[in-house]
């Protein structure tokens, strides 16, 4: 095991604690993050589905938008409509460029119409922060990148409320809402398709909480399981199902776009795509044995029709699925082929939620 952390990588405040807990660390989005722990991805995936695990999510970007125009500004740069969310509610947002390509997707925590916290992808935090600074010049808002001052974990799984009951009283907290509790921000949310909570606070408070959870028998989980869980639950990952070359319309995220809004960045391009969708992310179920990975090409009757954006054999099963950006319109059940290491592997089109 190499202990030489490349100098350009950041560690989260939980690094030492998670290293001691058996984390295997890899480079991810400029951070040195645990990809899995001693029990492995399969165990972490299954334990999240049928019990509870926790993930370090301190690497996620945290950007505050405050000021009289916070709502107006967010509604201008984002596809969704934050006015439809009440105070202490959350809303999923996509930030597009004028062509409809995605700059980032994120979760907005609305404290009030003039105070909104954005939790964004680690790899995009700087880009998004600079973009928001630039775009907000004519708005009465302040943009703050909180970056390293906050640590965070996600506690995920059907037993997550129970696992946290010694620490927080959460039975009244509803899905996609958050509370301020003794110096913690706790939301009922996550990225696994399970019930769960995301908890933010100062590094020392989060480290203490993590040490308690470990003592109480809650298994840690890493980025590996986070990816397989979100994939199985049909949730997109930036750089895979959504990117500067895959719009939210193509990704099938129309629920996060409010076309009723008079104007927002990317509206015209997205509207055009919605009316005439030429490319879309589909789910695929592999019929032949194999595992499709990002970049594998997809064919129909020998004709190239697209490429895989994510693919996994669901941990603990032999079921192999992939998401793929395909040109044209396809019905569920349509047979296609995926080229994997020179072999054509049969697959059929299906919905992209595999739970």
């Amino acid at each position: 095991m190499s202990e030489n952390i490349p100098f350009w990588l950041k560690k989260t405040p939980l690094y030492e604690t998670l290293k001691e807990a058996g984390g295997q660390f890899v480079e991810y989005a400029g951070f040195f993050m645990p990809v899995n722990f001693e029990k492995g991805i399969i165990s972490e995936h299954q334990t999240t589905r049928n019990n509870v695990t926790f993930f370090d999510i301190s690497h996620m970007g945290k950007i505050f938008i405050t000021g009289n125009d916070a709502t107006k500004f967010l509604n201008y740069v984002s596809t969704n409509n934050i006015e439809k969310t009440k105070d202490y509610g959350m809303q999923y947002q996509v930030i597009c460029n004028p062509d409809g390509g995605v700059i980032d997707d994120l979760m907005a925590y609305k404290y009030s119409p003039d105070k909104i916290l954005l939790i964004c992808n680690a790899a995009n935090t700087d880009t998004l922060y600079n973009y928001l600074l630039e775009e907000s010049k004519s708005y009465e808002v302040e943009i703050n990148n909180l970056d390293d001052s906050i640590a965070a974990i996600a506690v995920q799984g059907p037993n997550s409320e129970k696992a946290l009951e010694k620490h927080f009283k959460l039975e009244d907290l509803k899905y996609m809402e958050f509370v301020d509790l003794n110096g913690f921000i706790v939301s009922r949310s996550g990225y696994t398709g399970e019930d769960g909570f995301e908890i933010y606070s100062s590094p020392d408070k989060i480290i203490k909480l993590v040490k308690d959870l470990l003592k109480e028998g809650v298994d840690p989980a890493g980025l590996g399981a986070r990816d397989t869980l979100r994939f199985e639950a049909g949730l997109p990952l930036y750089g895979h199902e959504m990117a500067d070359y895959i719009s939210p319309v193509q990704a099938g995220m129309n629920f996060a776009i409010d076309f009723e809004k008079e104007h927002f960045v990317g509206k015209e391009a997205l509207l055009k795509q919605k009316e005439n969708l030429e490319e879309k992310v589909y789910g695929l179920e592999l019929i032949d044995r194999g595992i499709a990975r990002q970049g594998h090409e997809v064919f129909l009757d020998g004709k190239h029709i697209g490429f895989v954006t994510s693919g996994f054999m669901i941990p603990g099963t032999r079921n192999s699925y992939a998401n793929a950006l395909l040109q044209g319109k396809y019905k569920f059940g349509q047979e296609v082929e995926i080229e994997i290491r020179g072999k054509m592997i049969k697959a059929k089109v299906r919905r992209k939620k595999y739970l």
């Binding site: 399969i42 595992i291 990975r293 994997i340």
Partner: protein
């Protein structure tokens, strides 16, 4: 005695056949192995050519021929039980080769 490639395959010669498998180091590094992409019996590959792949949950890793040869047997147990490569990578070979030239072993690492 086993010979190892730089790409972490091992090869063991027995009765004129070459048993090829994955090193313990590689099996550990990959983590949970969930799929082994096996060649077909009769396929011929040159030394250092890719003959298949092992896949963990996260990623695929190509397998390379330690020596040239023809696939005489594939370990079909791995089709349904790929985790055998994690459990005992030295006992659970991946393929067996015939038509080998032992002098091709000389640049491999003897352990």
């Amino acid at each position: 005695m086993r010979y190892y490639t730089k790409t972490e395959e091992w090869v063991l010669i027995k009765d004129g056949l070459a048993y090829v498998g994955l090193s313990e180091y590689a099996a550990n590094e990959l983590g949970d192995i969930v799929f082994v992409d096996l060649p077909r019996v009769g396929d011929r590959f040159k030394k250092e050519e890719s003959f298949g792949a092992v896949e963990s949950v996260k990623a695929a890793s190509d397998l390379y021929m330690p020596i040239s040869g023809e696939v005489y047997e594939v370990n079909e147990l791995l089709e349904d039980n790929p985790e055998l490569l994690n459990e005992d990578p030295l006992k659970n070979y991946i393929i067996v080769l015939t038509g080998i030239k032992e002098e091709e072993l000389k640049d491999l690492i003897l352990k």
